[in-house]
């Protein structure tokens, strides 16, 4: 419900304190679940007329949906390649912005039965080691980190996403895996995080973009802007994400 006249958002995005309204449909990578939940609350507080609808799925599924004409306003991907595909299809309005970074951590079961200390242990064939699959963001970055540390990992499984990897580590079925810092944080007591030295670690960058065919272009722009704003960045930091 909006009042006649106050909705003077006809032309371009105005000052930050101009509010937007209507539904804003945000397609966000599953790893952003908690952070974007918070983001929605704050954004709606600032824009009482707006309603953020979050659609969480794997980045690739989201990409597919957007390419097939999903009526999305914003796409927040967990890696560049899925965003690139959307850009290539001319589905992005303007250019994507990097909005957070995420670095890697080793996840081990709470009691660390494999006595894992660092990436070097990934070469131990005795241990059950899991990574994310190649092309999955955390998979590519994890492999890069191992390469940096010059470790030839004896991998037992390439998990489809971080969640699956964490489930197995948490269930003590794997001795170690490489995931994002934020994932370890979100998993709470289920897993234990072991830091990877700066030298070997890799920083992943998440892009966000308003979409070309957004049904609510103003909302899309406003939400994107909010995520990049100080307030948005603060929320992301709370969940362990780094600044871009």
């Amino acid at each position: 419900g909006d009042e006649e006249g106050s909705a003077s958002t006809g032309t371009t995005a105005q000052a930050a304190d101009d509010t937007v309204d209507g539904p804003v449909l945000v397609f966000a990578a599953a790893s952003l679940t908690d952070a974007f939940g918070e983001m929605k609350t704050s954004f709606e507080a600032d824009n009482p007329g707006a309603e953020v609808q979050l659609n969480f799925a794997g980045s690739s599924a989201l990409r597919e949906q957007i390419l097939e004409g999903a009526p999305a306003d914003v796409f927040a991907s967990a890696n560049g390649s899925n965003m690139d595909a959307v850009v290539e299809a001319d589905q992005v309005s303007g250019k994507p912005d990097a909005f957070v970074t995420n670095s890697l951590q080793i996840a081990v079961p709470p009691k660390n039965p494999g006595k894992v200390k660092g990436l070097a242990d990934f070469a131990n064939e005795e241990l059950l080691i899991g990574l994310c699959a190649e092309a999955v963001p955390c998979g590519d970055f994890g492999r890069e980190a191992l390469a940096n540390a010059d470790v030839k990992a004896s991998v037992d499984t390439n998990e489809p996403d971080v969640r699956a990897l964490l489930t197995k580590v948490g269930a003590d079925e794997l001795d170690a895996g490489i995931v994002y810092v934020t994932d370890v944080k979100a998993a709470g007591d289920d897993v234990l995080g072991i830091d990877i030295p700066k030298a070997d670690n890799v920083v992943a960058t998440y892009p966000i973009a308003a979409l070309a065919e957004a049904p609510n272009p103003d909302g899309a722009a406003a939400f994107t802007k909010f995520v990049l704003s100080e307030q948005g960045q603060a929320i992301l930091a709370d969940f362990g994400f780094g600044a871009p």
Binding site: L25, A30, S31, T33, D34, Q53, L54, N55, F56, A57, A61, E64, Q65, E68, G69, A70, P71, R163, T167, G170, A171, A186, A187, D190
Partner: protein
């Protein structure tokens, strides 16, 4: 005949069958126990009483039921055509019916997008003509459920039709019943147990459906987020909640199936 008496008569089923069947049952019971052993029973009531769960449960019940009914209405006639009418390409249609079972669910969802999405084969003209868009709506959930669940009904019912003695249908025709009447009043009642089995399979499959739904219909709380999708989201942040919600699914299906009782399963 008294129950005790009946028991006495039914004594001593063959050991092989009991052993193999017992192992078969264990395949299902042990994982259930495994799940139960990791369930935060104390926190359960709190975990499953959130808005998210209630919304998702309501949506799941509605869509799975509707999908079951649609599968029944379309799948039974399809099974009948496959079993009783010779038409060109019949064996291809029969094979294509199993498609949704072999496609990875995500690909199944993508195929649905290719077909019924805004840029899809059928979806594009449909959208242009009527403005109707199936994905990201509750109808998308139902469509994904039907797509994934109906094959089970079709294959089960066709199997039962193939095993039916057609002489009863002939007898009904000789009494003046049209093919439709024969179908309704003789064929269907005679395969009732398999029909029920197929319906249970389809409904349960729809209730648990995940991959095609999330890809085709999206994952919007209150609109397209069914219970399995909610479980997926919960897994991201709160494993306990995810397990708890899974148990809700299990409980729903147990309650429904147990309420059907033996009467539903056995010959009148």
């Amino acid at each position: 005949m008294s129950a005790a008496r009946r028991q006495r008569v039914g004594q001593r089923p063959p050991l092989v069958l009991v052993t193999l069947g017992g192992i078969g049952a264990a395949v299902f019971i042990i994982p259930l126990l495994g799940l139960a052993s990791r369930t935060p029973w104390r926190k359960l009531p709190e975990l499953v009483s959130s808005d998210v769960v209630v919304d998702a449960l309501r949506l799941s019940l509605f869509t799975s039921l509707l999908a079951g009914i649609i599968s029944l209405m379309l799948g039974v006639p399809l099974a009948w055509l496959l079993a009783r009418v010779e038409f060109p390409g019949r064996s291809i249609v029969r094979a294509v019916v199993t498609l949704p079972m072999v496609l990875p669910p995500v690909v199944g969802g993508a195929a649905l997008l290719f077909a019924f999405g805004r840029r899809g084969l059928v979806g594009e003209p449909l959208n242009a003509a009527t403005g109707f868009l199936m994905p990201f709506s509750v109808w998308g959930v139902v469509a994904a459920n039907v797509f994934v669940a109906m094959p089970f009904l079709v294959v089960t019912v066709e199997g039962a039709l193939a095993g039916l003695d057609t002489r009863y249908e002939h007898a009904a025709a000789s009494l003046g019943a049209s093919r439709l009447t024969v179908f309704r009043r003789v064929t269907l009642p005679m395969i009732a147990p398999s029909l029920r089995a197929g319906l249970v399979l389809a409904w349960a499959r729809a209730l648990g459906e995940f991959g095609a739904t999330i890809t085709f219909a999206g994952n919007l709380q209150g609109r397209t987020q069914t219970l399995p999708l909610a479980v997926f989201v919960a897994l991201e942040s709160n494993r306990d909640a995810a397990v708890a919600m899974s148990l809700v699914l299990v409980a729903v299906s147990l309650v429904v199936l147990l309420s059907l009782r033996d009467r539903w399963w056995t010959r009148p």
